[in-house]
Each structure stands twice: as C-alpha cells, then as structure tokens.
Symmetry: C2
C-alpha cells in the first residue's frame, strides 16, 4: 500500500485525500489549522493527520503540495529536511513560470518536485467543500521542467488516470501559463467584472440560467486568485487587452448596425464553442 502525504487540506487537498482514500492509498494529511486536522480525521478523509508535518513526512512515498502558491517555498524551507530522500513532490498551483523557479533553487537535490495542474476545483474554499468527484472527467496537465524524470512523469500520468481524470497532457511552463491566462484567468476576470459592472441585486428575481452560469466563478477566493493573477500578470494583461479589442470590435459592429458582420461573429463563436462540448 502506497502512502501519500497531502500538505494543505483546503478544497483541493481534501478532494485529493478523499479520492486517494477511495483508491486504497494510505493518506496522511498536514495542515496548520488544528480544526481542519480534526475535521479530516473525524470525516475519515485521512488515515493520519497532524499540524506538525515533521511527524508524518518520513512515512510518505509521495507528497502533494496543495498550498497557496506563495506558501510553497516557505513550507519547503521549513520542512524539506524531514522528507525522505527520493520522494516525489507534486505541486498544483494555478500558474507556474514565476513561481517554480525560486522553489527549484532552494529544493534539496535528492527530492524531485513535479508541477501538475488538475483542471478542476470549487468556488468555495475549505476542507468542508472537498469532493472526490471533482476529478471525474477533468483535464489533467503535467508541466515538467529540466531535471524532472521520465519515471515521475509516467507515475503521475498513471495517478491522474486513477484519480478519474480524462485527458492527461504535458505542457511547457510558458504554454501552460498562456493557456491558463486565457481559459481560466481571463474567464474569471470577465465574471468578476460583470458582477462589478453596477449594482444588480434588484435583478435576482428576473435572471435566467445564462447569467447564473456565466457568473458562477465570480464567487472567488480573493486570497488565492489575487496571488495567481499577480504571478501571471503580463500574460493576463495581454489576454485582457485582446478581449477588450474583441468587445470594442463588437461594439462598433452594433453601432454601425452591421447585421452581416454581427451574424458572422455569432457563427464564429458558435463554431468555436461547439468544439468545447464535453
């Protein structure tokens, strides 16, 4: 039986723990919040858990770091001396390029850190929103850098399929952050900015599903997403500018009542969107 350590039992860490338990792994949970540790133990999400990672790391065959991105480096500085040589660490942050360089610099030579990005989650934060099912049919991306081993990439690919993910893909760091800048970050910016366009609570009783679906992700963890946006600032700004150009173009078409061009834009968006149907 393999033992997986999970550092950080927020919504993602808890979801990893729950699915790993279902799969028969021995799961050890670590979190700085004693209440979270109690919750994990009381709900059978873990086989063991502690606020003191030093007590558990020696037992782990591999470790998932489900921390806020900016907390990873400090955690490693404090605890990596307790990790067994040869252990694989998986970090799941939403952006990579500005984040992982400094981490690799301080990482022990006999530990391997591999970046992954399971494309799933929940709008809510905290262990109580953990859900093993978030991995079902999700896309899973591995973002290896120089120094990562083929063995680790293969092991992680197999683990991703065990978790229930559909596509497992490999991307370069820059490709990943560009993709995330568009698919995830720009998408969240639009939902947030739509809710913030003007006061709208008087409209609740009139709304349909379109508005609800489009703004679901306007419920956003402000601590994590402000970190992620700043870590991917240049790419996200470029994506925002491209979007503004797109909506300014649409605005001109509407001002000019250019029905043919408007229909062309609708047909294009329809064709493109069809490819994304599950």
């Amino acid at each position: 039986m393999k033992t997986v350590g999970i550092v950080g039992l927020g919504v993602m860490g808890a979801s990893f723990a729950m699915r790993a338990k279902e799969l028969g792994y021995r799961v050890l949970g670590m979190d700085i919040d004693p209440k979270t540790i109690d919750y994990a133990l009381n709900h059978g999400m873990v086989d063991g858990a502690s606020t003191d990672a030093r007590l558990l790391l020696e037992d782990c065959d591999f470790v998932i770091l489900a921390l806020y991105p900016t907390k990873i480096k400090g955690w490693l500085e404090q605890f990596q001396s307790y990790i067994r040589p040869g252990t694989l660490l998986l970090e799941i942050s939403g952006v990579k390029s500005k984040l992982t360089g400094p981490i690799h610099e301080i990482l022990r030579d006999d530990i391997e850190l591999l970046s992954i990005h399971p494309m799933c989650g929940r709008e809510s934060r905290g262990i109580e929103f953990g859900d093993a099912k978030i991995f079902d049919q999700a896309n899973f991306i591995i973002i290896p850098v120089e120094g990562n081993s083929i063995d680790s990439v293969v092991f992680t690919s197999v683990f991703a399929k065990e978790l229930g993910c559909k596509n497992v893909s490999v991307l370069q760091v820059e490709e990943h952050d560009r993709m995330i800048g568009f698919l995830s970050q720009l998408t969240h910016v639009l939902a947030v900015c739509l809710m913030n366009t003007h006061e709208n609570s008087h409209l609740v009783e009139y709304t349909g599903d379109s508005f609800r679906d489009l703004t679901r992700i306007a419920k956003i963890n402000e601590d994590m997403w402000s970190e992620l946006f700043l870590l991917n600032k240049d790419i996200l700004l470029d994506e925002i500018d491209q979007f503004i150009a797109s909506i300014e173009n649409f605005k001109s078409v509407l001002i000019n009542e250019d029905t043919d061009e408007m229909k062309h834009l609708f047909v294009q968006s329809t064709e493109r969107r069809k490819k994304f149907d599950k």
Copy 2:
C-alpha cells in the same frame, strides 16, 4: 378544456406546446415549415397543426406568438382577421420597447396582446430541441402596457405558474429592456467576444468547467440575436460601455499590483453573486 394556439414551433414554441399538452390543454400548432408541422404531429406535441394558420385560429381560446420578433407584425397583418374577437395573444420576444409599439398600432381593437418573457430557453434552435422542462423553476415576467386588462395579467400569471415557473413578476417596458440589456444581452456579448478573442481550438483538451459554463451561450442563434441586439441597441451599448469601464478598472488594479483593491473587487463580486444562487 381550453385550446391554446401556438404560432411558431421553434425551440420556445415547441416547449410551450409540450408543457401545455402535459397540463391537459388542447394544443394547436402553426408554423410555415411543413416538416416542422409533421414533426409536431408525429411526436404528439400538438393535437392539431397546420402551415395555414387560418384553419386553426378560430378554435383558439388564447394564442402564444413564438415568432422571431421582427416577424410578429407581418404575421398579424396577414392573419389577425381570422382570430376570434376577445382572444388574448401572448408574445414572448426578448426585447419590447422598440418592438411592441408598432404592433399595437396595427392590432385589431377587439384583440388583446400581452407581452411576456419567460426567462428560459436553449442555445439550439428548432422544434427538435423543444423541452417542457425549460419552464421548471424559471423566472417569468409580464410586461403590460396601457390597454392591457387586469384579467389578462391575472390569467397569464396563473398560466405561468401552471407552466412550472417560479417567480412571476411584472415590469414596465423600459425596466424590462434595461434588465435584459444587462442580464441577458451583455452576458451573451461577453461569451461571444471571449470565444472570438483569438483562435482557441488547440485549448480544448486543457479546459475546465469554468470556461465551458461561461461560454455555453456563445453558441447563439445568429438570426434571432442580431434582431434582439438591434432592437435594444442603445441600452445594450450603454451596458457594454459600463462593462468596459469595469474591466478597464480591473486592468489598472492589476497593472498597479494593488492587491487590496483587487481583493475588494473579488469580495464584492462574490457577495453580489451569492444572491443569485438558486
């Protein structure tokens, strides 16, 4: 048993027909497309149907006009002489102010037209996407104008609840079109413009549910929505401008790395969005 006539058996007309049948109404369908009439008859969506409205209108206790907005006036000019005096007509167009004035001008004095807007639908067009369930828990708006009777508003409210709708509200024409400009039209503009920001088909295997949910309505009926946008042009342009101001503000916050203000914007969007949870 009441007989309801449904003019136009697209996705909305067909859905009305199917739910009305479930409720025990006698349903008569009218459509210019013989294939659509055959489909409705073969699938038991209607008790009778014809491409020739003249044959059926005399039998109808009330009539739902589920036509493209710009087709309503022409249809009435052609067929209103066949409608029984005192019949209530319900029209379901997505915008009202520029549309219904000219219609009321040509309408026979002994027929009443009441504007409604069931806040539900499907991205796909055509009778085969009709679905009685779209009305379940939907919001339903009645938009009376001078000349509409209290009796008709009450009858329609009861009918809306029979259909399965949750909230039935009454709005003035201008309130309705402003609300639609934000909740529905701006929302569709954002989804369309996001898909049109740049080519993105290479991103399919990496996407998560956020992007899928936000862009679902980028699959759009280009004929109907171009009509609806032009009929509500001034309001929609104003909403687009307010959104652009919102995203430009967000962009400045990101450029300045103003984390506190960014978190404030996220907290605001989260609080506002929570009110829209079903």
